[in-house]
Every structure is written in structure tokens, then in C-alpha cells.
């Protein structure tokens, strides 16, 4: 070993910002790596949801009338409201990223808090919708009821809007599959929302102390990517689950 004795002095601390981790040579490299990792993570999410979209694609092709009848049981008004809420939350999130980049602490806290609030509004509306499904026995599993589809007039509000004809029993029972996919896809989406809202809460607390407005906004930027991704998923879900027969 010729000259390995003085190793540690060579790798000792040089001057660098506190957030720069040891194994990166510059802050740009660190931000670059984190951003790239986030995009890859979103790619895994695309594949994860992709499995559900595949199932949807197959069964919608096979059981189109059942899927149309099922979608008529959803409230387009609530769905549209929720879409607007999420798109607006994407805007507030984008404002948050901008505030972090331009080092506006109060603006950042406000934007994040608004995003947090809009996320909760979305979940609140989703809860109202889910409750309606439970009341109508549209939750797949033990208490699923085919009444709405065998006898559409039993459900006067929906009937007034769509004038659906009764489905034959064999097709009607496939509405259960539609609702399985509805709960799976919106449920998986809501789970992502809940995780996102949790992280937003954490970020609001840290943003108040100025953690993201001192030149290190990577976390906010990458969380923004995640939040926009969830919004995009919802836009697909809205079109695929609520608007099947409207084209």
C-alpha cells in the first residue's frame, strides 16, 4: 500500500450547502438524479395502474351494455366537480413549485395549504359518491343488487335522465364487474390522494420554517410531479368510468 495512509484527509468536507449529500459532486447533479428517479417512479405507477386499465379494457369490450348501465348510476355532476377541483389543485401545486423556485415562503405555504384543502374536498365528494353506492347496493360482494339494471324504473332519478331499457339478467350481472373496477380504480386513486395529502401536510410544516425556499426546492418540484400524475390518472378515470355512453 504505497500512499493510502492519508486517505481520509483527501475526502474530508469541502464547503458545500447543508442539503448537498456526500456522494454527489454538485447540487445540480443531486437535483437531476432526484428528478430522474421521480419520473421513473411515475413510470412504475403507470404500469401499476396499467394492470387495472387492461382489465377495464377487456371487460368493457365484452360487456359494453352492462358498463354503460353501470356508468349511468354515477353522478356526472359530482364527477365533473371533482375533476374541476383536481385541476384547480394542480394549478395551486404548480404555483407552489413556482413560489419555492422564486423563494416566496408565504406564497409557498399558501399554495400548499390550498392544494391540501382541495385534496380533502375531492375525498369528501368521493365519500358522498361512495355512500350513495352503498345505499343502492352497488358495492360488489355480498350485498350486490341487480335491481337498478333489471328494473331501471325502480331508480326514478336515473331513469328520468337516461331512460335505460332493462338489461337481460345475464348482462345485468356483469354490472358487478363494472362496479368492481369502479371501486378498484377510484379506490387506488383515492389511496394515492391520501398519501399525497399526508405528504402535503408534512411539507406545509416544513415550508413554514423556510425549508424549501433557500435554494433546495427539489422535494417540492418532485412532489408536484406526483400530484400532477394523480390528477392525470383521475382525468382518465373520469372519462372511462363516468362518460362511457357520451360520445
Amino acid at each position: 500500500m504505497p500512499d493510502n495512509s492519508a486517505i481520509t484527509s483527501n475526502v474530508a468536507h469541502e464547503e458545500h450547502p447543508a442539503y448537498l449529500r456526500h456522494h454527489f459532486s454538485s447540487a445540480e447533479q443531486q437535483a437531476d438524479a432526484a428528478g430522474f428517479a421521480m419520473w421513473l417512479f411515475l413510470l412504475t405507477e403507470v404500469m401499476f395502474f396499467g394492470g387495472l386499465f387492461t382489465a377495464y379494457l377487456v371487460y368493457r369490450n365484452w360487456y359494453y351494455p352492462a358498463f354503460v348501465a353501470g356508468s349511468h348510476q354515477l353522478s356526472v355532476v359530482w364527477g365533473t366537480t371533482n375533476t374541476a377541483v383536481l385541476i384547480f389543485s394542480s394549478f395551486t401545486m404548480a404555483m407552489g413549485v413556482w413560489c419555492a423556485q422564486t423563494r416566496r415562503r408565504r406564497g409557498l405555504v399558501l399554495s400548499l395549504a390550498l392544494t391540501f384543502f382541495l385534496g380533502l374536498v375531492f375525498l369528501g365528494i368521493k365519500t358522498i359518491e361512495y355512500r350513495e353506492k352503498i345505499e343502492k347496493h352497488h358495492v360488489p360482494g355480498f350485498h350486490y343488487s341487480l335491481q337498478s339494471f333489471l328494473d331501471p324504473q325502480s331508480n326514478p332519478e336515473v331513469y328520468a335522465e337516461y331512460h335505460d331499457k332493462p338489461l337481460v339478467p345475464d348482462m345485468a350481472r356483469h354490472t358487478e364487474l363494472y362496479f368492481s373496477l369502479y371501486f378498484l380504480m377510484t379506490g387506488m386513486h383515492a389511496l394515492h390522494m391520501i398519501i399525497g395529502i399526508g405528504i402535503l401536510g408534512f411539507m406545509i410544516l416544513r415550508a413554514r420554517t423556510g425549508a424549501y425556499t433557500a435554494g433546495h426546492e427539489t422535494f417540492v418540484v418532485n412532489f408536484g410531479l406526483y400530484w400532477h400524475f394523480i390528477d392525470i390518472v383521475w382525468i382518465y378515470l373520469f372519462a372511462l368510468l363516468y362518460l362511457i355512453s357520451r360520445h
Binding site: T8, Q29, T44, F49, G141, S180, F183
Partner: protein, 556 residues
């Protein structure tokens, strides 16, 4: 040491293990459990992987013991089902998938590209914890009664008919899957963003290319099996109907989702092994890998083609004839990049200065066994023969030739090759050469008879068989005991070498990778200063020049 070796050790009388290295920098159990050093995490993985390997191996031993006689005498048939299921689950999800990437990949990817660590060190530690959580859950499942669906969780068996622990096993695989996703993601980011100055894509060691290709598969395929498992769990608990024909669902959808992961998964398992073989063959024939670019791109080609062949697992499951035709054709295509690799390694040997150290013996084992495994894969890829051979011992033999004969040989080649770098000490050469040969002999005796059994029509996954198959089964079981010895020996002498092995010095093999140009065991920071890559990979002339310039032997 005779002259037929390239091993170049420092003078044992004066040599010392460097006082400051990644092992000695910090002490205590917590310094290991909370580390974010990729080298320490690799060691954590190595220990835990080996543990799971021997559990899976013990289960394999039980299977072979039961099959020694035609009757079911050692265990009841449902116990047998559980034993082969747990053997599959543990070996695939807790050994083969993470084997080379999580140990050697974790340890050497940053070192080979001249980085201080992986891009996301804490994510790396998280992935080990996820792996352990999944692994311990699988062991818990085994302790409370196991699962008997086969490692493929076939619906509707897994959703409607069995009363065993499908849910906990599924959860174990789900959690381990996230460990794999995070590892792959970390590798891709690291290879893109952390390369040292001058380390261009076409100067990367082929080990890196192979891991890059495998990582793409981990990141893109694993989430699909995750959602498939979620659907199984919900089908089983809530009866959501997506896989239930009585509600209009289709069990075949599960097969598509499952094999969309599980076929690429075999490339996740084999590609990193191929990376090891490239390094070993080049080092022990003192030549740049023949057709570097072709070998590099063949890894990527395997990864890409690997996504479009999954339905060849479903030829007898009622998919359409046209789908069979297309998937059969696409399956043949995978043979092309695999053959490119085999041919290029063979050409690398041509006119090389070949020496037969242990890693090279394992690599030769790999070449032969993987070729047989790959070729029999073509039999199974053609639908006509597949219909006769699938669900027989032929497929068991094919899979084990690729995974045990291929991947495990590559894993052991890699462990021996980099052992001096990881620990600073050599393993005993003669003993390990013997272990490599024992493994090769034991392997062939175990699995070659299974090809014949399969051709004769012996179905897999049964505890009993007609008496006329006994002689070949006795061969197979006898081989398994030899194979067992072959795997136990390395554990014993590698542990022995930690204390008594010869001191290896920086570069005992005279290899060219950046990981060999630093002390063994490496520093926590890997390099004293950031390396600059000013030459191609596998440039042995550069190495000679370096040695002359330094004026001292690099092993000194």
C-alpha cells in the same frame, strides 16, 4: 502458485489489510442496520440471501427425497404441494430475483462507474428492509402452514379453492416486489447520473449494461405483478369477480398479468448473471470482450424482447391459435441476443491467455449449462413440442438449467471473483476449484435425467409417479446430494477465509475495472479522489502501462 495463474498477491509477510475501510470505519450492529453505504447494504443482502437460499435448498432436498421412491412415503401429498410451492416462492422472489443485483450489483455498480455511492442510498437501505419484511413474512407463512398454489398463484385455485395462506404469501411477494422496484430504479438513476468524468456509455463494463437492462425490467414489469397480487387478494377476500368466471371475469386475465411480470422476471434473474460472466471471461482470458457493442446491446435486446413473449407460458391455457403463433415466433427471437452473448464469449476465449481459477470454472459451467437451458427453451417456445412437454419434468429441467446451471453458477463465479475485493482476503483456490467441479457434476446428475423424464411424460408437481421412472429419479436425487455438498463447501471456506485467507491486495486478478484500482476492502468513499476514465473497458495494455508508471506492482 504455479505459472498457470494470473493471481498476483502481495508479499504475505508484510501485507496488511488497510486499517481504514468500509468494514472498520464504524462498529456495532446499528452501524450496519442503519447504514446507507452501498457496500454494507450489499453485505446485508449477501447474508440474508444466503440464508433464504439454504431454506429454499432444504425444501428442494425434501422434494428430491420424496421423489426417491414412486410411492408417497416421506410426506402427505398436500404437504408435498406446500413444499414445492415454498421452494419456488423463496428461491424465485427471495433468492434469484435479488441475487446478483442486490449483492454484487449493489457493491460494484458505483465502484465500476467511479461513484461514491448509489444515487439514492437511503432508498437502497429501504429496499433491504422491504426485502427482509417480505422474506420474514414468507417464513412466517411457512411456519403457520404454508401455501399450496404453486409459486404461480394460479386462479381460480388461489382465489376460490384452497384454504392455505395465499394472502400472507401474496403480501410477502408484493412487499419484496417493491424492494426489487426500488433497486432497479436506483440502478438506472445511478448509471445515468453518477458516472465519473470520461466514463461514457461505451466505456462501461458489460456488468453495468447487463444491470441496466435488468433494471428496466424490474421497474416496468414488477408493478404489474403487484397489481395482479392485489387483485388476487381482493378476489379472495371480497369476491370482486375480475378473475371469477361465474361473475363474468376471466382467470386468463390473471395469467396475462402474472406472466407479463414473471416472464421478464427470468431475464431479471439471468441478465445480471450474464454481466458477471462477461467480467470473468475477459479477466481470465486477458482479452477485451469480443464484440463489446454487440454484447452490450444484446442485453438491452433481451430486455426489450422479453416484454413480448409472456404468453408462451399459456399455450395450453386456451389462448387463440393466432396468439400462439405470434408469441411462439417472438419467443424464438429471444434466442438471438442470447446466442450473440454465448458466441461472443466463446470468441473472447479464442487465442486468449486462459487460466482456470475458480470464477472461470464456474463461468465455463455457465456457458455449457446455460446453452443447454436456452436451447431447450426453444423446444418449449415452439407450440407443437410445448404442448407435449409443458407441465412435465422437461420444463422443470429447462428452468433449472437456466436458473441453477446459469444464474447460480454466475452468482458463485461473481462471489468468488469479487470476494478478494469485498473482504480483502483470498478464498482457498484448490478447495474452491473442487467445489466448482462438484457443483457442475452434481448439477448435471440432478437435472439431466429430468429432461428424459419429461420426454417420457412424467408430470411435474406430483409426489408419486409410475415405478418405471424410478431409476432416473434415483439419479436425480443422488445428484441433488452432490449438489448440496457443492453449495455447502463455499459457505464453509468463504467464512474460513474471512480470518485465514491470504491477503489479496488491490488487484489480485490483474483486472481492468475501476473497482480493482482501489484498496481492498474499499474505503467508505470508494476512491481517494474522483477517478477519471481515460481508456476503454477491458484495456489490458492500459493496465500494464499503469503498473510500469507507478513503478510498483499494483498488488503491492
Amino acid at each position: 502458485m504455479n505459472e498457470h495463474t494470473i493471481v498476483n498477491l502481495p508479499d504475505q509477510a508484510t501485507a496488511r489489510i488497510p486499517k481504514d475501510n468500509y468494514i472498520t470505519r464504524e462498529n456495532g450492529l446499528l452501524s450496519w442496520l442503519l447504514t446507507s453505504d452501498h457496500k454494507r447494504i450489499a453485505i446485508l443482502y449477501l447474508i440474508s440471501l444466503s440464508f433464504f437460499f439454504f431454506i429454499g435448498g432444504a425444501l428442494a432436498g425434501l422434494i428430491r427425497l420424496e421423489l426417491l421412491t414412486p410411492q408417497t412415503d416421506l410426506m402427505a401429498t398436500d404437504t408435498y404441494n406446500k413444499v414445492f410451492t415454498m421452494h419456488g416462492v423463496i428461491m424465485i422472489f427471495f433468492f434469484l430475483v435479488p441475487s446478483v443485483p442486490a449483492t454484487l450489483g449493489n457493491f460494484f455498480i458505483p465502484m465500476m462507474i467511479g461513484a461514491k455511492d448509489l444515487a439514492l442510498p437511503r432508498i437502497n437501505l429501504l429496499s433491504w428492509y422491504l426485502y427482509m419484511a417480505g422474506g420474514l413474512l414468507a417464513l412466517y407463512t411457512m411456519a403457520v402452514g404454508g401455501v399450496d398454489t404453486g409459486w404461480t398463484f394460479t386462479t381460480p385455485l388461489s382465489t376460490h379453492y384452497v384454504n392455505t395462506n395465499v394472502l400472507t404469501t401474496g403480501l410477502a411477494v408484493f412487499v419484496a416486489g417493491f424492494s426489487s422496484i426500488l433497486t432497479g430504479l436506483n440502478f438506472i438513476v445511478t448509471i445515468h447520473k453518477m458516472r465519473a468524468p470520461g466514463m461514457t456509455w461505451f466505456r462501461l463494463p458489460l456488468f453495468i449494461w447487463a444491470h441496466y437492462a435488468a433494471s428496466i425490467l424490474m421497474v416496468l414489469a414488477t408493478p404489474v405483478v403487484a397489481i395482479a397480487i392485489v387483485l388476487i387478494a381482493l378476489e379472495r377476500t371480497l369476491g370482486i369477480g375480475v378473475f371469477d368466471p361465474t361473475k363474468g371475469g376471466d382467470p386468463l386475465l390473471f395469467q396475462h398479468l402474472f406472466w407479463f411480470y414473471s416472464h421478464p422476471a427470468v431475464y431479471i434473474m439471468i441478465l445480471p448473471g450474464m454481466g458477471v460472466i462477461s467480467e470473468v471471461i475477459s479477466t481470465f482470458s486477458r482479452k477485451r470482450v469480443f464484440g463489446y457493442t454487440a454484447v452490450a446491446f444484446s442485453s438491452v435486446a433481451i430486455a426489450v424482447f422479453g416484454f413480448f413473449v409472456w404468453a408462451h407460458h399459456m399455450f395450453i391455457m386456451g389462448i387463440s391459435n393466432y396468439a400462439v403463433l405470434v408469441f411462439s415466433l417472438l419467443t424464438m427471437l429471444v434466442a438471438v441476443p442470447s446466442a450473440i452473448k454465448i458466441f461472443n464469449w466463446t470468441f473472447t476465449l479464442y487465442k486468449g491467455s486462459i487460466t482456470f481459477e475458480t470464477p472461470m470454472i464456474y463461468a465455463f459451467g455457465f456457458l455449457g449449462l446455460f446453452t443447454i437451458g436456452g436451447m431447450t427453451g426453444v423446444f418449449l417456445g415452439s407450440s407443437g413440442t410445448d404442448i407435449h412437454l409443458t407441465e412435465t419434468y422437461f420444463i422443470v429441467a429447462h428452468f433449472h438449467f437456466v436458473m441453477v446451471g446459469g444464474m447460480l453458477m454466475a452468482f458463485l463465479a461473481g462471489i468468488h471473483f469479487w470476494w478478494p475485493k469485498m473482504t480483502g482476503r483470498m478464498y482457498p483456490e484448490k478447495l474452491s476449484q473442487m467445489a466448482a467441479v462438484i457443483t457442475f457434476v452434481g448439477f448435471n446428475l440432478t437435472f439431466f435425467p429430468q429432461f428424459i423424464l419429461g420426454m417420457l411424460g412424467m408430470p411435474r408437481r406430483y409426489a408419486s409417479y409410475p415405478p418405471e421412472f424410478q431409476i432416473l429419479n434415483v439419479f436425480s436425487t443422488a445428484g441433488a446430494t452432490i449438489l448440496g455438498v457443492g453449495y455447502l463447501l463455499p459457505v464453509l471456506y468463504l467464512v474460513w477465509s474471512l480470518r485465514y485467507g491470504a491477503i489479496a491486495g488491490d488487484n489480485p486478478w490483474q483486472a481492468t475495472g475501476l473497482e480493482w484500482q482501489t484498496q481492498s476492502p474499499p474505503l467508505t468513499e470508494n476512491f481517494t479522489e474522483m477517478p477519471v476514465m481515460d481508456h476503454e473497458a477491458y484495456d489490458y495494455e492500459w493496465l500494464e502501462k499503469q503498473k510500469k508508471e507507478k513503478g510498483v506492482d499494483s498488488a503491492g
